[in-house]
Symmetry: C2
Subunit: 346 residues, 2 copies
């Protein structure tokens, strides 16, 4: 029997009772160590479960058939950070089990795809989710861009899942089949915002180039409103579900600019390190705005501090600078500007 | 301090270790008994947690301020089936806590919004989620319909959350302020399918009526392809995450027809009672089709049985009847027909 067990978002204590009970009955326990990470290492998982938990990297899970062959006669647990079915990665493992007539059971848990609602944006208003890949020398794929734009211009929010690279090999090491791995890399919100604006510029440039070449038959250039403006809001989330969870409401432009400003800026102090996710909101309901601006409800003049006076981590607001304007006025103007950018039918 | 704790989908064993630990530290424990239900009663939650868990109905949570006033000085847990933030219902409670400067913490858990991936459809391909309300004498709202159509014609899947009514009062009892509640009602997939097709007919009829009235200025009638065809696929899910989880892949037309056929039909035997959810798929990736048809992978001639020979509950396939055609041929034809109904650009 194969058990595919969600671990939730932050620490091993986020596992469910039924998940933990199931592990106790298993002969072998593997943990997916390549699609995401908990805030601590595999040793703590082993100690907590009282089992010798083995690391399963991508090659082991996807190419080696040990997990499947063990599950023919033994109880095997495969642990996955978040909910096991939110990424498509593990579908393949389940289909292999089915083909071998090995019974399987999924034990669900919380996922970043729903926990992002902690910022107050409603999941009902989410359009298609996108993954933003880290751009490298090998390529700068921008297929996420039209999806964000399509959601935005239908008034829907877009959850952007940001790339992580764990135990990846460099091109050189791949070619020479050397088992040397790059240091882990985790995309931050500022990088994602830069890539979003840059993707828009590149797509626009491709149309300009094609229109200058009479030999090329091209589609019409998209309308100007088919590009995201730097004044669009971006809701940044860091380490959702963990004790150090942080949230920031600002604009795509401010985020992207912070990337060139380096690490010393205010913004990276607010969000801190990985894991980051980002939401590009569409049309905002008044209650969503109230929640995003929850810090203003407390009204103690400490709206720009990282932690509210009551100890709860509310979203930090970082509106664009406006000469002679107070903090609340700048926040209001940031939200008004976002709503202006949406099509008038909303 | 106010703790808002997700219970997961099925039984109290689906709570997380961190959720259970938090309850132990609380002076008061309430459970939301109006937005969803576990597969067992509140007594089992109390016994499992070793606490006197109190039922919180809608009036108590939304109008009575006892939860908030207790949380000023005590540790209060508010338990919610699924993930606490997936419905918008509990946002109001959090905003009230923030306004009163009461610190709060959310402990996430699995939600129907992600667990539906158990059928093999990818969450990345989901468009906007819709809620389908039970139609009553008081009204037949159909605003869910254009959202499903909009997703479908963009090639995206639509998760349809089906209405449940727990502890609702009849209009009479509301008017006379009598504390008499109607029996609980849970929408089934067959009812949802009927309402989807009927909503399409009603919206069409409104256009026809308006065009016959020269005094009315009306928008153009939507194109024929703006209506969902009864041959569209519907993926039905029952009691997701529970030991009796069941799945069915068929068409909207077959589902709707089963409603008039009464309870004795094959279909309600397959799915069983509440809670039901439904997905109207958009464009299907080959791996999604492989997963939906997992029963065919086993290929032991038992493809039409409720439980596969390996004990795992795989989706049951119920294709339309076709004279002289074998089961596999009918399934293939059902999927081909669905893809045909999508715009040609896919």
């Amino acid at each position: 029997m194969l058990y595919i067990i969600g671990l939730g978002l932050s620490t091993i204590e986020d596992i469910t009772i039924s998940g933990l009970n199931t592990i106790q009955e298993c002969d072998y326990v593997f943990v997916d160590a390549y699609t995401s990470i908990l805030s601590h290492g595999i040793e703590r998982i082993s100690a907590f479960c009282g089992k010798d938990v083995k690391r399963a990297d991508r090659e082991f899970t996807e190419q080696d058939s040990l997990i499947i062959s063990l599950a023919r006669s033994e109880n095997v647990a495969f642990l996955v950070v978040g909910d096991p079915l939110c990424a498509t990665t593990h579908t393949d493992l389940i289909i292999r089990a089915i083909k071998e007539r090995i019974p399987y059971k999924v034990i669900h848990n919380s996922s970043i795809m729903t926990s992002v609602a902690c910022c107050g944006l409603q999941l009902y208003r989410m359009g298609e989710t996108v993954s933003i890949p880290l751009w490298t020398d090998c390529g700068c794929p921008d297929s996420f861009y039209p999806k964000i734009v399509s959601n935005f211009f239908r008034g829907l929010h877009t959850l952007c899942l940001l790339d992580i690279k764990i135990r990846e090999k460099s091109l050189d090491n791949l070619l020479y089949d050397r088992d040397i791995y790059e240091p882990p890399r985790f995309m931050l919100c500022s990088e994602a915002a830069y890539q979003i604006l840059e993707a828009g510029r590149r797509i626009h440039q491709r149309f300009v180039d094609a229109s200058a070449d009479p030999g090329v038959e091209m589609p019409c250039e998209p309308e100007p409103e088919c590009y995201l403006h730097p004044d669009c809001l971006a809701v940044c989330l860091a380490r959702v579900g963990s004790p150090t969870q942080a949230m920031l409401v600002t604009t795509i432009g401010i985020l992207a600019a912070s990337l060139s400003a380096g690490d010393s800026n205010n913004l990276s102090n607010v969000l801190g390190g990985p894991l980051h996710s980002m939401i590009i909101p569409g049309k905002l309901h008044p209650m969503e705005i109230e929640f995003l601006c929850a810090r203003l409800l407390i009204g103690d003049g400490k709206e720009d501090l990282g932690t509210a006076s009551n100890g709860t981590s509310l979203p930090v607001l970082l509106p664009p600078a406006m000469a002679g304007c107070g903090f609340r006025e700048r926040v209001k103007s940031m939200f008004d500007r976002h709503q202006e950018l949406l099509p008038t039918k909303f």
